[in-house]
């Protein structure tokens, strides 16, 4: 019978859970008395999303008797003093994400360090006059531009505050995961086994994969990932404005090669995110600082891509709209001009999109870029991750208060359904926008020109877009 049981344990099982395949390495017949410490939740990946997930659970009184661990491959970074110059990696934080961060005290730290709220977002086309402006009626903050280091500093502080509940393992890369069978029928351990690079082992009732778009957790779980490398790279840099201004507008212009965005950091500085072809990106990094600044100003101000046809068609449409909406569309503002770039702040990284077909399996949940990767043109990347955290924490809280096994697929599927519904539409819309704006072909330019102008004239539609994006 033990031979039979060994076969049963080693065999891959097809479970009728909507056709979900139980793939991945299954545990061999393992003795029950294994010395590996058992955790209730292990978060793999100590970036912004992984750290925030661990902090949210650690600060929640429902989990005060649970053992939580965070695995981070890199060393512990000290963020005691922020350098005077701004880092070139920044994120646009939505009000929803700010609410999540303040729920466990991290937002206070962010505010006391530095961040820039913005009230307005102007997005316009390089091939036409079409423009759309987003702003809240009450001129409330639409979002916040925060350096990633500032967020990490706040998260690290809040993790330290609950060090008795959340164990953080720095310099600990996970090299192998072993998944349990869904229904325990033999002597094998029902928990997820994690093997670290230094040979240490951990066991957990629930593994949360937050290890980025090249997620090892996702690969080991053999979850199919729909991915696509864009033929674009993003160039980032910290820029100094020509003159100090009430810098509370986020600017984005769609060039045929890709969108260029200016995100406010302070009254005199802004962050650049310029998505363009790989060749152009390398060129931008190679040229001298003055030429670099000239390219940026030209990208925002030049009208070389306009054509008379499109301009006329656009003007006609705009007059038609103003018949319906006499109040007209918002006034076009001009973006600030750039004086210089912060030395050594230019960098580039490749762009792609990705979406995991499953976010969850028995005892496993993926959050953040491990589950979905999006183009930065919508400024949503990390906000989707924070949204994942809020949703997963909610379901885990309910499961814990019901005495359920935290790794049970029942509540994990609820998390997956809720988030996929939200994320898929946003990722698809972002991808579509990226493709729509990557061309100079007249019919498509006309389509997007009219589309943008029409949307700009419809406050209810804009409000819906803003509400969706600020979750």
């Amino acid at each position: 019978t033990s031979a039979l049981m060994a076969v049963a344990c080693g065999r891959r099982l097809l479970v009728p859970f909507g056709g979900r395949l139980w793939a991945g390495r299954r545990g061999p017949l393992r003795s029950v008395a294994s010395a590996a410490p058992l955790y209730d939740v292990v978060v793999s990946g100590g970036g912004m999303v992984g750290s925030a997930m661990a902090a949210v659970l650690g600060h929640d009184s429902h989990f005060q008797d649970k053992k939580i661990a965070l695995l981070e491959a890199g060393p512990r970074k000290e963020y005691d003093c922020m350098p005077d110059s701004y880092s070139n990696r920044v994120s646009s934080i939505s009000p929803g994400s700010a609410t999540l961060l303040s729920s466990f005290g991290a937002w206070d730290h962010v505010c006391s360090l530095r961040m820039k709220p913005f009230r307005r977002m102007q997005v316009w086309d390089a091939c036409s006059e079409a423009m759309i402006v987003f702003e809240k009626d009450d001129l409330d903050d639409m979002g916040y531009i925060v350096e990633n280091d500032v967020i990490m500093s706040a998260l690290t502080k809040q993790l330290d505050a609950v060090a008795d509940r959340v164990e953080v393992f720095y310099g600990s890369r996970a090299v192998g995961y072993t998944w349990p069978l869904p229904s325990p029928s033999c002597d094998a351990s029902p928990w997820v086994q994690i093997e670290l690079a230094d040979g240490r082992r951990l066991q957990t009732k629930l593994l949360i994969g937050a290890d980025g778009h090249n997620s090892v957790v996702r690969k080991e779980a053999e979850i199919k990932n729909i991915e696509h490398q864009y033929d674009q790279s993003a160039v980032v840099a910290t820029l100094h404005l020509s003159e100090a201004t009430d810098n509370n507008v986020a600017w984005q212009r769609f060039l045929p090669t890709g969108p260029i965005a200016l995100l406010p950091l302070s009254d005199t500085a802004s962050s650049l995110v310029w998505s363009t072809s790989h060749e152009h990106a390398s060129e931008l990094l190679a040229i001298d600082e003055e030429s670099f600044v000239d390219s940026i100003n030209s990208a925002f101000w030049s009208n070389v891509n306009h054509s008379d046809f499109i301009d006329t068609a656009g003007a006609m449409f705009r007059s038609a709209l103003s018949l319906l909406k006499p109040s007209g569309t918002a006034v076009r503002q001009l973006p600030p001009s750039i004086a210089e770039v912060e030395p050594e702040s230019r960098a580039m990284f490749p762009l792609g999109m990705g979406h995991a077909t499953e976010y969850v399996q028995h005892r496993l949940a993926l959050i953040g870029d491990a589950a979905h990767r999006v183009h930065p043109l919508a400024g949503q990347g990390v906000n989707l991750g924070f949204g994942d955290i809020a949703c997963l924490a909610h379901h885990l809280r309910a499961a814990s208060f019901n005495g359920s096994d935290l790794g049970s697929l029942k509540h994990l599927l609820k998390f997956e359904t809720e988030r996929q519904r939200h994320n898929v539409s946003l990722i698809a819309a972002t991808d579509m926008l990226k493709r729509l704006y990557s061309t100079k072909l007249t019919p498509l330019v006309l389509l997007r020109t009219w589309g943008l102008q029409a949307t700009n004239a419809l406050p209810p539609v804009k409000e819906q877009i803003m509400a969706f994006a600020s979750k």
């Binding site: 008797d65 229904s183 325990p184 029928s185 208060f401 019901n402 005495g403 359920s404």
Partner: protein, 281 residues
């Protein structure tokens, strides 16, 4: 020999009923298997027990809301209800007449050191533990059990004996109506296979009125009777107004005779945690 109210020669355990569960003793923990309806019943019966107990207590910790509560799970089977109650902090004793069930339950809890300590399983009938457990438990849970016992009145008397004064008794069972025959036996067992064929006998079903009067005549005060309904499409349970098929009962044992002080029914939840970590929020 002392005359006990519940003698083992006249037991509430029916051997024929016990035999029905023998074959499925290994299937308890397959969430998609024969016992899937019982697994999903946890989604309503655990909150029912938890919220009722919390409403009767003055303070508790969110992490272990039932800490310090001693629970007896009668007819625990594979431990499907014992484990969630244990995770909520309660000290659970699970008893079942079938040894194979207890073996399955013990094996399943053994992997979790916290549960292994909080839950104790015993292969025994209710009568057999009465003598050593007089007025020991704060809570008794008899879920999907009373429709299988041979002598319901004796079962209730034994419950009363092992329950502390002002302790709570939770029962879930099936009503004896035409509807419960059609849906509970014909559809659930013969047609859809929600319940293994032959598990239930309609003759044994207990109408809530009969259960209520038996409880009241044995000193219990019935606090709540609530209908439950299973939706086979979604595999989920919900609370409903009608008690025609499934229903749940909460009853409380009266305060001990001669006591005037209105002592709280339960110990201060959260006060007796041996390994309390962190500060109460």
């Amino acid at each position: 020999t002392a005359r006990r109210l519940c003698s083992t020669s006249h037991s509430s355990v029916d051997p024929a009923e016990v035999k029905k569960f023998q074959l499925l003793a290994h299937k308890w923990w397959d969430e998609e298997g024969e016992y899937s309806a019982l697994h999903s019943m946890n989604d309503i019966r655990v909150p029912f027990i938890r919220d009722t107990l919390l409403s009767m207590s003055s303070n508790y910790q969110l992490g272990s809301p039932l800490a310090g509560v001693k629970v007896l799970d009668v007819g625990c089977g594979g431990g499907l209800l014992s484990e969630p109650l244990g995770r909520l902090g309660a000290s659970v004793t699970g008893i079942d007449p079938l040894e194979d069930n207890i073996r399955t339950a013990d094996q399943h809890k053994s992997f979790d050191p916290v549960l292994a300590k909080r839950i104790q399983y015993k292969s025994s009938s209710l009568e057999e533990i009465v003598e050593e457990s007089m007025e020991t438990f704060d809570v008794i849970v008899a879920s999907e059990v009373v429709e299988h016992v041979a002598d319901l009145e004796m079962f209730i008397k034994c419950c009363s004996q092992v329950l502390k004064p002002e302790g709570s008794l939770f029962i879930t069972t099936i009503n004896k109506t035409q509807l419960s025959y059609v849906l509970g036996i014909v559809v659930a067992e013969k047609l859809l296979g929600i319940v293994p064929d032959g598990t239930h006998e309609w003759e044994r079903f207990v109408p809530p009125e009969e259960l209520e009067s038996l409880l009241e005549s044995n000193g219990f005060s019935v606090k709540a009777v609530q209908g439950m309904l299973y939706n086979p499409l979604w595999g989920s349970w919900s609370w409903v107004g009608s008690r025609s098929i499934n229903y749940a009962v909460h009853a409380v044992k009266p305060r001990a005779q001669g006591q005037h002080s209105p002592a709280a029914a339960l110990p201060e939840l959260g006060a007796e945690q041996p390994s309390a970590t962190g500060t109460a929020v």
